[in-house]
């Protein structure tokens, strides 16, 4: 890619180079961008047919990629404190957001990255996050690394002890259950919060209406691929 992508935008990738199974593209949040080479990275876990086929693609092969697509995080540098909450493969968009803000001169001391993993063995996923000059804390389900418990509980504990600044903006990406917990906490503490949602996206460009999420309060649906994937936490019903 030619320029630094907007954090939270995604790439729509055809996993196979030929054939019709899998048929559809898969959406991946942009993980990292190297400004010298223009190379873009994604981070994914093999969970089904699409990612399994993708994992067999060898270096040097060409993939069909559409993007960047969607609306990412749109946060001014004037915010007081940036709190990033990631669960598992939800690491990429908030990692790129931290990197983007640092690159524009935002103070790394005012960035807290709360990284939720199942167990310490998953720590390599967060290698790049560790290299950023920001405050990184881990939460693991089994307590093998950092805080024992869900990353949403870690968020609550840090909001309670006041270590996340006076007026933090929370940005989260991860499994539905985690996002719902973060949404509830942000609402309870009256903090501004943005969620990067995941959805099955057949087209990725707003046409198929397959990836919708319900609008909170209003009886209408919004397209995750077009109006999102980043939404203000208060506007979506999870």
């Amino acid at each position: 890619m030619e320029r630094f992508p907007i954090p939270g935008t995604f790439l729509h990738i055809k996993p196979n180079t030929t054939g019709t199974d899998p048929l559809l593209r898969r959406a991946f949040s942009i993980f990292d961008y190297d400004e010298t080479s223009g190379v873009v990275d994604i981070l994914y876990k093999v969970v089904g047919r699409g990612t399994e086929v993708l994992s067999r693609v060898r270096p040097g092969e060409t993939l069909d990629v559409l993007g960047p697509l969607g609306n990412g995080f749109d946060l001014p540098l004037t915010i007081d404190h940036l709190v990033l909450v990631a669960g598992g493969v939800g690491i990429p968009p908030v990692y790129l957001l931290a990197k983007s803000h640092l690159r524009q001169g935002f103070d790394g001391n005012k960035i807290n990255y709360l990284c939720g993993l199942t167990t310490a063995a998953e720590k390599p996923m967060a290698d790049r996050v560790e290299k950023l000059p920001i405050n990184l804390q881990f939460a693991t389900d089994d307590g093998s690394l950092g805080f024992k418990g869900f990353v949403s509980e870690l968020l609550r504990a840090r909001l309670d002890d006041g270590s996340l600044g006076i007026n933090p903006v929370i940005c989260a990406c991860g499994p539905d259950g985690m996002l719902k917990a973060v949404q509830t906490i942000a609402r309870a503490y009256g903090k501004k919060c943005y969620l990067s949602l995941e959805s099955i996206m057949p087209c990725g460009v707003g046409t198929c209406l397959g990836c919708v999420v319900k609008n909170d309060g209003e009886e209408k649906y919004m397209r995750v691929c077009r109006e999102g994937p980043v939404f203000e936490a208060s506007e979506v019903e999870l």
């Binding site: 199974d21 048929l23 057949p202 046409t207 198929c208």
Partner: protein
């Protein structure tokens, strides 16, 4: 050799080539404006519109299956008034034919929507989605019974100011009597097939993949079903057939034409490759040149028995 002619005529309307986009896979056209040159298309069929706005079914609405996908979007659309006000202006002067897909749950709804569209000269044709459940009847699709199909097409034809093309369901024992009934009722062309009934269940968490339980299967998985439907229908009607079902590239286009279709619609392929239609137009042209075929119409119904 001269450039072969790709022009086809359906219901008195000339299309610059036989490649259209299928309803529900191309939005209202504007969504694809940044990806392809819309003026190159033979035509655009816009997403089904109904009397009122419909929000559609709760998600998950789609599930991928082997070489196909299930969808149960639930005819989500802006409603005919907003369509005329907000969507039609973009479609004017695009340089391609505009076919408006109209859906309804009873006869009055079809008539209401058509009446609202009458007089808008940017519209070239109406595609009548008669695969919706008939809510006033027994919930059966309009196109699953020849008499019901005849009645609805007849009533719509009486007031419709555009050529009329009913879109038929494959979910019937025999498509031929339904196709004939539509022709006798005054249909100018037929579009087939709509999606095939389907369902998928996750073997690990035992959950049915769609909230709506069942959905419509599309994609390459249904192409042989569609080819057979076009072939059978072509043997009993004189009006042109527009083939739909799993078309991914120019080879599929040729297959449908050989089966008896005059034109085709690309559906699910638009999700996979936004420029699939443009590639197919170019590749079809190359194919005709390489075979020294001057006119694409020379392919229609030319399939040979082995």
């Amino acid at each position: 050799m001269t450039t072969p002619s790709l022009k086809v005529t359906i219901g008195g309307v000339e299309f610059k080539n036989p490649i259209l986009t299928a309803s529900g896979t191309f939005g209202y056209g504007e969504e694809f404006d940044e990806y392809i040159d819309l003026s190159r298309l033979g035509g655009i069929v816009t997403k089904s519109i109904t009397r009122h706005e419909r929000k559609g079914h709760p998600p998950p609405r789609t599930a991928e299956t082997a070489s196909g996908m299930l969808n149960a979007i639930g005819l989500a659309n802006v409603g005919v008034d907003a369509y005329v006000r907000e969507k039609l202006p973009f479609l004017r002067n695009l340089g391609t034919r505009i076919v408006v897909n109209v859906a309804g749950f009873d006869t009055d709804e079809y008539l209401y929507v058509i009446d609202k569209l009458n007089g808008h000269d940017e519209i070239d044709m109406i595609e009548l989605n008669i695969s919706c459940p008939n809510v006033k009847g027994d919930g059966m699709e309009f196109s699953s019974n020849p008499q019901i199909a005849y009645d609805i097409v007849r009533r719509v034809k009486e007031i419709c100011g555009f050529p009329l093309m009913p879109k038929l369901s494959p979910n019937v024992a025999d498509i031929k009597p339904i196709a004939k009934a539509c022709e006798e009722a005054g249909a100018d062309a037929l579009a087939l097939i709509n999606t095939v009934y389907g369902m998928a269940i996750d073997p690990f968490n035992w959950r049915i993949k769609l909230t709506n339980i069942t959905g419509g299967l599309s994609g390459p998985a249904i192409k042989p079903v569609a080819i057979a439907a076009v072939w059978k229908t072509a043997s009993v009607v004189k009006i042109p057939i527009v083939g739909i079902g799993g078309i991914m590239d120019y080879r599929d286009v040729i297959e449908f034409l050989l089966a008896g279709a005059t034109a085709v619609q690309f559906g699910t392929a638009n999700f996979v490759q936004p420029d699939c239609t443009i590639r197919a137009i170019d590749d079809l042209t190359d194919y005709l040149v390489s075979r020294n075929i001057q006119d694409v119409n020379d392919l229609i119904g030319k399939a040979k028995k082995t």
